[in-house]
């Protein structure tokens, strides 16, 4: 439509940006191609590639936060398709710079951790190739300056997830989980595709700048439609209800994969998308209501389901789902800084929790059921303290990082006029406290209930990243987020997000909100304490846990029947259709048609063959008959003519 193309960032040449983007890809290719020869060196090589990207990101701080008139950040144009209409390039502004830090920073720590965790695995090189490929794909997603590049990254990230969930492909459960994740992600891809189609139809461009500049001119239905389509993509990728069923099963992958992809980065792609499309969301109140509601539902559903899980990674998976629900609430209702802040802190403490639980799993020879753990405080003290910090942070205990970001999200919901979402988030906070402390108590207190005689304590390669992560888990909130509007965080993001118009003065202040949340959290902690941590509870722990597992209501055990419904509605129907075609249509209709053709030809041949009697007189009769017919015809025709 418009010949003027709006660019979000300051256009120019940023070779460091391109290098940052492509280094992980180079690492992946090298590990793929030369993996068998490099063997153990692959791990260090891959980690070095990510570390290099992180360093480049730090060096690009200035370019990323530069502010020149309307342009924010750095824009590196890459190439044009249909010159002047579709321009593709990289965009580094505060939002994508933050995501890049997390991806490369936490990614580097997890790569480093994997060197120890995946040691001895047969496909060691392939693992690191996939991990680097994932980082490249995620960087493509966050660094693109247009919807199509984002979609490419989106798809590649789903592919990397498929690779990594099904990494141990000899296990049927892993393959099934990978397939499930991929199919659900494709549903999201389709949603984003439709949004791209609508945009191209409306403004003949796919770049962010053009889309946001024209946001006001879309009209409510089109805008809402685009937002819904984008939100479908976000919901699939970020495991929001009802497209969340893949996330718990994705825990089939190795623990570093769960930490990097399904906690810190990939699942937050939906949050990134909504934050990036803030101008679109700001213009559509319906989209905000939708996003906020779904986010809240996901938060509380994840929390409820987390209370009845027995696999340590699944508890963390539902916790992730719930926390991402918080993030979606944050960016959905318009509290972008709060939502992104929660993403930031969550990346640290969730990665921390996953890596520390990986220490336990590794030590106990791949035991993941908490009913067979217990008393590990004495056997694995380092893991205990690490997980304790993560739990305190996720529960929002004042002073820890999670406290700041979570309260900002919850209060933001109230500020933007969604009281029910606000209430749901508070209840969820209490549930979060309950199940996280339940995890802690059951795993670490009491007597050891398992079978492993000598837990094999992990080496320094695995302990170091966990130790490094303790610092941001505990402190980064206080450092960056404290101070409301004058915090470093707010100043960082001030140019990015336009100040929102708040509907009304809320009933409660932020301080009051924090107080309510604290009370609820402590209540959850108390309940968990009573159930799992007292001497009486630990006495008959085996028996108590077994009874608790038996008494869990069916609708919780079946995960609110989401899997069942999806299976019946989509999987069974498709299989039925396939069976119908294979058993009925194909053999009878299609094959039948071909067979009938052959039968017709055969019977026609038999019919004609009956003329071949070999009798001279029969042939003569046929001749005479033919001649007679001619004669009769001409006699009648000639007779009539006369």
């Amino acid at each position: 439509m418009s010949a003027v193309h709006h660019s979000l960032g300051v256009a120019g040449n940023y070779p460091m940006l391109v290098a940052l983007w492509l280094l992980p890809l180079a690492g992946a290719v090298v590990c793929w191609a030369f993996g068998p020869r490099l063997k153990a060196f692959c791990g260090w090589l891959a980690s070095a590639a990510i570390a290099a990207s992180f360093v480049l990101a730090v060096l690009l701080w200035g370019a990323g936060t530069q502010h020149a008139g309307n342009a924010l950040g750095a824009n590196q144009p890459l190439f044009s398709w249909i010159a002047g209409t579709f321009d593709f390039g990289l965009l580094l502004d505060p939002l994508s710079l933050l995501w890049t830090f997390i991806i490369t920073g936490v990614g580097f720590l997890i790569h480093f951790y994997s060197i120890g965790y995946m040691e001895g695995d047969r496909a060691y090189a392939r693992f690191f190739a996939y991990m680097n490929f994932f980082v490249f794909a995620m960087l493509t997603l966050v660094l693109s300056d247009n919807f199509v590049g984002l979609l490419v990254g989106w798809g590649l990230v789903g592919l990397a997830s498929y690779f990594l969930i099904g990494f141990w492909f000899e296990r049927r459960t892993a393959v099934a989980a990978a397939r499930k994740a991929f199919v659900l992600n494709v549903v999201g891809d389709v949603g984003i595709m439709f949004a791209v189609f609508a945009l191209v139809a409306a403004i003949h461009s796919v770049s962010f700048g053009d889309a946001f500049a024209a946001a006001g001119s879309f009209g409510t239905p089109l805008l809402f439609g685009i937002c819904i389509a984008l939100f479908i993509g976000a919901a699939a990728k970020s495991a929001q209800v009802p497209l969340h069923t893949w996330l718990p099963d994705a825990m089939e992958g190795p623990t570093p994969v769960s930490a990097l992809i399904h906690a810190a980065t990939m699942v937050t792609a939906g949050v990134y998308l909504i934050a990036r499309c803030a101008p679109l969301w700001n213009a559509s109140a319906d989209a905000r209501m939708l996003a906020g509601t779904i986010g809240a539902i996901t938060a509380i559903a994840g929390a409820i389901l987390g209370c009845v899980q027995w696999d340590i990674k699944r508890i963390l998976a539902y916790s992730t789902m719930s926390q991402i629900g918080y993030m979606i609430v944050g960016v959905g209702v318009g509290a972008y800084e709060g939502g992104v802040a929660h993403f930031f802190t969550h990346a640290f403490f969730k990665a921390q929790l996953f890596l520390a639980s990986g220490l336990i799993i590794h030590a106990l020879a791949n035991e993941q059921d908490v009913r067979r753990m217990g008393g590990l405080r004495k056997k694995l003290p380092f893991a205990f303290w690490a997980i304790l910090t993560g739990v305190l942070s996720i529960c929002g205990i004042p002073g820890f990082s999670g406290f700041f970001s979570k309260d900002e999200v919850i209060y933001g919901a109230l500020l933007h006029g969604h009281p029910w979402i606000y209430a749901t988030c508070i209840v969820t906070a209490g549930l979060t406290a309950y199940y996280m402390f339940r995890l802690l108590f059951v795993t670490f207190l009491g007597e050891y209930r398992g079978n492993v005689d000598h837990p094999h304590a992990p080496g320094w390669v695995m302990n170091l990243p966990v130790a490094i992560l303790i610092v941001p888990t505990v402190a980064i909130g206080a450092v960056l987020l404290y101070g409301g509007e004058h915090s470093p965080w707010s100043r960082y993001f001030a140019p990015q997000f336009a100040p929102a118009q708040l509907p009304a003065v809320p009933a409660l202040t932020e301080l009051q909100t924090s107080g309510i949340v604290l009370i609820v959290v402590l209540a959850g902690l108390a309940i968990a304490w009573v159930r799992y941590a007292t001497r009486a509870a630990q006495a008959g722990a085996v028996e108590r846990l077994r009874r608790e597992a038996e008494r869990t209501p069916a609708f919780l055990v079946n995960l609110f029947y989401f899997d069942t419904i999806i299976d019946l509605a989509f999987v069974r129907t498709s299989q039925l259709l396939g069976t119908l075609v294979a058993r009925v249509l194909d053999p009878h209709l299609i094959d039948g048609a071909v067979r009938e053709l052959a039968a017709i030809t055969r019977s026609a041949g038999t019919l004609v063959r009956s003329l071949e009697t070999g009798l001279l007189r029969a042939y003569a009769l046929i001749l005479a008959f033919g001649a007679a017919c001619f004669i009769i015809y001409y006699a009648l025709a000639a007779g009539g003519a006369h």
């Binding site: 009697t613 009798l615 001279l616 003569a620 009769l621 005479a624």
Partner: protein, 124 residues
């Protein structure tokens, strides 16, 4: 013997023509009808009889029916070419009879039944 009786037939009618008297012309439709009947008798003979020799004779009947037509129309249009063509037909009939009989002899020399229906190698 056969020649003599034919000559007797020929003399009788030749006398009428040679006297110079006018022979009342017969409408040509009669000749055509006669030719048609004779032709169909020949066809019937071919279809009904199973002796190959009778079939060949029926074919000769058909030839003669055609000849009659040629001669009649030659007389109707006073065209010599009808006679020439009838002559050609006779020649062809002779050749065809010769070859047909040779085939009959070759085929049925070693057959017990001289029956055309027995020769069915082309069946199917």
């Amino acid at each position: 013997m056969p020649l003599k009786s034919n000559a007797r037939h020929a003399k009788r009618f030749c006398g009428v023509a040679n006297s110079g008297g006018r022979v009342v012309p017969v409408a040509i439709g009669n000749y055509i009808a006669l030719s048609a009947v004779m032709f169909f008798i020949g066809v019937t003979g071919v279809l009904v009889r199973r002796n190959p020799l009778i079939m060949l004779m029926s074919i000769e009947l058909m030839f003669n029916a055609a000849n009659l037509l040629f001669i009649a129309f030659a007389r109707a249009w006073l065209a010599n070419v009808g006679h020439i063509f009838a002559f050609l037909v006779i020649t062809v009939a002779a050749a065809e009879a010769a070859i047909g009989l040779a085939i009959v002899v070759t085929t049925f020399r070693s057959e017990p039944n001289v029956d055309v229906d027995e020769v069915r190698l082309m069946r199917g």
